[in-house]
């Protein structure tokens, strides 16, 4: 009972969620590469970015300015969190660090609740316009925004980590601490920068999907879990892997819902994830 247009529609649906998962996954990987830490508070930057933009837009700021300011707010917040809370305990065990990021997530969520209240907020789409018909399916203009933002972010990351001196030094830092200090960057500074990047990209993801979702202080939990799934599949330290895994996850989800069962789609996705982890313990694209 499904014809071609639906296959296309499922694909768009998967692309939309997939891009969002991919962005979150990338933000997780950047932090992980440099500080070997998965930040469970990433979902909060996602929410704070989106809600900050909602507030700024409602205060009458033009969209682009609000966009830039919101990213800035999250970036600074991320850097502050790293300096104040992660650095003092960076030598503690991995369990402590995980729980610390959970604590940060609780705190930020609690603060968001007080600042933005309990109700949901809507952001208007970046550009107005009717849905675009493609091959019998419909594509929302905002989805194009999400995809282009994802692409731009990936290009920026590529340029930063491959072409700039700072980025190369940071990458070196991920691989070899001593080597990095020789290249003129301390692990401290690299971690700080990574957090800034991570929280900025997290916020960007939130802002991009905010017009499709209703954002509320607790909206960050689901994207965080999905982003974490994506990095687990893609391999913790592989940017390309996590992007592919994020898109794959979104697509698999959409097709599972569309073709198999919407009731058990999450059961299926999580079971697949466990199978992947068991047979490929460091992710589909991870090394060693």
């Amino acid at each position: 009972m499904t014809d071609f247009s639906h296959i296309v529609q499922f694909f768009f649906s998967g692309l939309t969620s997939g891009s969002m998962y991919a962005l979150i996954a990338v933000s997780l990987v950047i932090v992980y590469k440099v500080s070997l830490l998965i930040c469970f508070a990433q979902g909060e930057f996602f929410v704070i970015g989106a809600l900050a933009m909602v507030t700024l837009v409602s205060k009458g700021l033009p969209m682009p300015l609000a966009f830039v300011l919101s990213i800035l707010i999250s970036t600074v917040l991320g850097a502050l969190v790293q300096r104040m809370l992660i650095k003092p305990i960076q030598n503690a065990g991995i369990g402590n660090l995980i729980v610390m990021t959970i604590a940060i997530s609780l705190t930020l969520r609690g603060a968001a609740l007080l600042v933005w209240g309990k109700e949901s907020h809507i952001l208007k789409p970046f550009s107005s316009g009717a849905p675009i018909p493609v091959l019998g399916a419909t594509l929302q203009p905002q989805v194009l925004w999400i995809i282009s933002i994802t692409i731009v972010v990936l290009i920026m990351i590529w340029i930063f980590f491959e072409k700039t001196k700072l980025g190369i030094a940071m990458r070196a830092c991920a691989e070899n601490r001593l080597g990095a200090s020789l290249m003129g960057i301390s692990t401290d500074k690299a971690a700080l920068l990574a957090w800034a990047w991570g929280s900025g990209i997290g916020a960007l993801a939130g802002m991009a999907v905010a017009p499709l979702l209703f954002m509320q202080y607790g909206s960050g939990v689901m994207p965080m879990v999905k982003g974490f799934i994506a990095v687990s599949i893609g391999g913790l330290s592989s940017i390309v892997g996590s992007v592919v895994a994020g898109l794959l996850l979104g697509t698999v989800e959409a097709y599972t819902i569309g073709l198999i069962s919407s009731k058990f789609s999450d059961t299926i996705v999580f079971s697949l994830l466990m199978v992947v982890l068991i047979f490929k313990p460091s992710g589909l694209f991870g090394k060693g």
Partner: protein, 318 residues
Amino acid sequence: MKLLKQFWWILPLAFIAFYPVTLAGGSPYWSGLLIFVGIYVILTVGLDLLMGYTGQISVGHAAYFAIGAYASGILTAKYGFSPLGAMVIGMVLTGIVAWALGRPVLALKEYYLAMATLAFNEIVVTLIIGLEWLTGGASGLRDIPSFSIFGLVLSNHVHYYYFVWAIVIIVIACSLAVVRSPFGRTLVAIHSDEVAARAFGVDTAKYKTRIFVLASVFASMAGSLFTHYMGFLAPDDFGVLTSINILVMLFLGGIGTIFGPILGAFFMKLLPELTYQIHDYELLLSGLILIIVLVFMPKGLFGIFTAIWEKMFAKADK
């Protein structure tokens, strides 16, 4: 003073024994609160065996809690099993699930392990929601009878309180026996350095699986106790957030000690009692408390406790 050092454990035991009649003053509420605390102590101690001693991260402990709870709930409410029988069946079932999962899942490390445990938690919850005909789905399972042993119904909160805490004490005793034995030493070795442990003949996968099964069976037991006290089950109480809550209790209380988790469970379950008036701030407050604990007292509340204790005796010994 010496007497205190030797027989200190009588104090908390006496507290637990006389609590319902003294402090709680016979109030079902205060006994009820400590029933919840007891249930979470079982969960947290189990997780501690797995995380604190063996070093295996779990972000999905609520899954086994759920299996026990639903096994008890379904068997008693729908098929007329005796609560005790259902509880045992639940424990066996959870044990089998944990045993089957143990080897492949515990072969994973760090974040991958965290992810796999989290995924299993989600699988259990989505199955509970999906299998409506069996579990009552998201709307919940109703009409679960009170606990009874051999015809004696424990519907009275004080009776149930003693029953739960008797089990808590058994669980603590078992855990102490395990960690203060060669078995516990083996767990610590696995935690410290798995490769080296293997070089001394430790079949690490086997030992990790064994302790995982024990922790899961504890969780299942806690689930059964929870079920009969609530009289009602819904998947909302068994999600990843519950798992994270148990994790937080563990770290707050002091990981890698058997008594730390008890303090953590007490603290986390009693905190809402203090914040009823400012419920909007509870999230922020619990986050900040946890941050403070992690930054300033890496050994948790139990760490402070032992520090004070040692100072006390250091003075006394002089």
